[in-house]
Amino acid sequence: MTLDTVEYASQSPDVEQPWAELGLKQDEYERIRTILGRRPTGAELAMYSVMWSEHCSYKSSKVHLKQFGEKAPASDAMLVGIGENAGVVDVGQGYAVTFKVESHNHPSYVEPYQGAATGIGGIVRDILAMGARPVAVMDPLRFGAADHPDTKRVLPGVVAGIGGYGNCLGLPNIGGEVVFDPCYQGNPLVNALCVGVMKHEDIHLAKASGAGNKVILYGARTGGDGIGGVSVLASETFDDSKPTKRPAVQVGDPFQEKLLIECTLEVFAEKLVVGIQDLGGAGLSCATSELASAGSGGMRVELDRVPLRDATLSPEEILMSESQERMCAIVEPGKVDRFLEICEKWDVIATVIGEVTDGERLEIFWHGEQVVDVPPRTVAHEGPTYQRPYARPDWQDELQADAPTADRLKRPAGGDELKATLLAVASHPNQADKSWVTSQYDRYVLGNTVLAQPEDAGMIRIDEETNLGVAVATDGNGRYAKLDPYTGAQLALAEAYRNVAATGAKPLAVTDCLNFGSPEDPAVMWQFAEACRGLADACQVLGTPVTGGNVSLYNQTGEVAIHPTPVVGVLGVIDDVTRRTPMAFREEGQLVYLLGD
């Protein structure tokens, strides 16, 4: 097969291209041709298709997410806001904390262990890429009915995967959620949150600047993992009637990631890095275009230098591969040797694959021939934006009218009814003891866990001398959100906020993972719009800005969407963790007060 070079593409405008199979719409494909003034090469098409997928471009959600910035309450604590890998918050004493929650829902249904494991791996690299040492993880989970056979397959795999990966990284798991509801049967939610700590001066951003600086790819070799996974997994849904889709699954190597963490923190400590980006969904396509787009110049990459696990991969596949445990750093030429030395110390493979140029293009070469020549912003930051139609569903009124009221759902009368009600509530899986799950997670490692299960919020000490610490809680209730997405999102925030406040910490910032159905359904889009509006309004009132998060759409089985499920994480600071308030009664004779009404 001949290589589809830029030169060849200019000469062959009529070559048929598989844009539809790659998940692009006709007008999107036309737009790529307009941007480039010719048809894209195969490699360019691969990049645009993954980067313009819903998952990477947020094309349906962007217009609503804007509110989180526009309505953000003034906050002195915010050091880095939305748009970077994760937001960064000032917690005092020169420390900054970064945290973010992300979804790995679809991969976890296909292959529960690896899907959940690589979900942890991905969010940890996001946090690492900000310059922080990851210090804790949390895992808000939603499954189908507890006694459904699919739950039996998915739940143990997900929990083992989160434990297997997180435990092996040495990150304490300080909390999460396990909620069962039939609406998640064919579409469980696996959200993962990571918290990282750094000093203010260690904050790193994903940008490539300084002509002549080197682009270094380090970490695992690149294989065929999850090729096409980004567009296929994130833009399509599972259909009960067809056999399960089995795309190439990404397999995690937590040991490699642990080395990547230590190695990266060491190169940060020696100030060897100008810019850095983790490789997640969309792999090298994402890392190179985002670094170049955010930076001041262009970038030139020799793709054939990328160390491969599978020698037969084509340039398109290398650009789209979602092999895990890789990072991309921009390093001044004089510091490259030391950078490579530190990688060698940690047995991490590192390769100079290109350099920052003073041009404005992202140029990628394959054995000397040019296969990509694009303006990086058009790939990374100027993708399509949709104003999807949305409308309050006609069943909403009926659903709300069906709510329990005094005459329709009576209070239990008498001892027997009360007993029955109590038993019904107490025996529901959502009230069950979660220790089957939590005991599979290491909550002690690093020796700084002040609160973990069964507490309402997790708490981590970040300075052993001063006892400065942070508390984090995640909450979300899909049933409330379905009844009223605006208020439901606010309730999720209020609950997480309360859980943090109850420990004695002061809530500072918010992250969210918005799990919804198909944005092509106006009813779902309405739920989404309402939830965003509700969350943004509530954040404004409470004075806690959203610093980052993640949107997961197309969570549905066939035509049926999950309950709209905004999961909200709140981070708070406590200046002395020895003053934390655990939830248990401490000693006999203490008084119990009920606050609120």
Binding site: C168, L169, P254, L259, R461
Partner: protein, 225 residues
């Protein structure tokens, strides 16, 4: 005299910082040792910490056992230097044949993290002299492959020679033969322990401080020597 206790970092070690903290809280000086370095930097004792060295791929501890630092540690342990292996460190000690038996997959087939009650069965080793014989303590336990197994005659010999250092109480969390949580070599200088005493050295971050004794024992032993 400051007592210097080395803590080895293998690729994939996780509780190395925690072990160093415990050494410091006990009043000794922690010294970081690197797996590629044969030099033990004049330490008086060594701790092999918990974690997943080399990802615990192949078998836990199987790859670390062949690291340069282990060559020196094995030689010095055979000459009496105190060595404590915690969790993954215990696995390394068994793979190195400094201790008998092996640690295998938990019988539950799950990783388990819990606060575990133990009985100190031998308070005469280098690492347990600060405990009373038969003392009961609670420390965290967290492992996926912590089930101690050995041939019947090896188990009998361990019992007969008083080389069982600690035993699980209340529940046997991983199916260890004869509830064994930790053992020692014949000389009493090398101890392997599945639970994590380094996570029970501060009331704030652990179930109590009953793990500290392992670290103060070694301090006392070395200062007295």
């Amino acid at each position: 005299m400051t007592v210097r206790v080395g803590v080895v970092t293998f690729p994939g070690s996780l509780d190395d910082r925690d072990a160093q903290r415990a050494v410091r809280l006990a009043g000794a000086e922690p010294v970081a040792l690197w797996h590629r370095d044969q030099d033990l930097h004049q330490v008086d004792a060594v701790i092999l910490p918990g974690g997943f060295s080399y990802g615990d791929y192949l078998r836990c501890g199987a790859i670390s056992r062949f690291s340069p630092v282990m060559e020196t540690i094995i030689a010095q342990a055979n000459e009496g230097m105190p060595v404590l292996g915690i969790c993954n460190g215990f696995q390394v000690l068994c793979e190195s044949h400094l201790l008998p038996g092996a640690l295998t997959r938990n019988d539950s087939l799950h990783f388990g993290c819990r606060d575990q009650r133990l009985r100190i069965e031998n308070a005469a080793t280098a690492w347990t002299s600060d405990y009373a014989q038969g003392q009961e303590i609670t420390v965290p336990l967290k492992n996926g492959e912590g089930r101690f197994v050995a041939a019947e005659h090896t188990l009998d010999a361990l019992e007969a020679e008083g080389r069982v250092v600690a035993r699980y109480l209340d529940v046997n969390p991983n199916g260890s033969y004869r509830d064994i949580a930790g053992i020692t070599n014949a000389a009493g200088n090398v101890v392997g322990l599945m639970p994590h005493p380094e996570h029970a050295v501060e009331p704030l971050t652990g179930p109590g401080t009953e793990g500290l004794g392992f670290f103060t024992s070694i301090l006392k032993k070395l200062v007295d020597a």
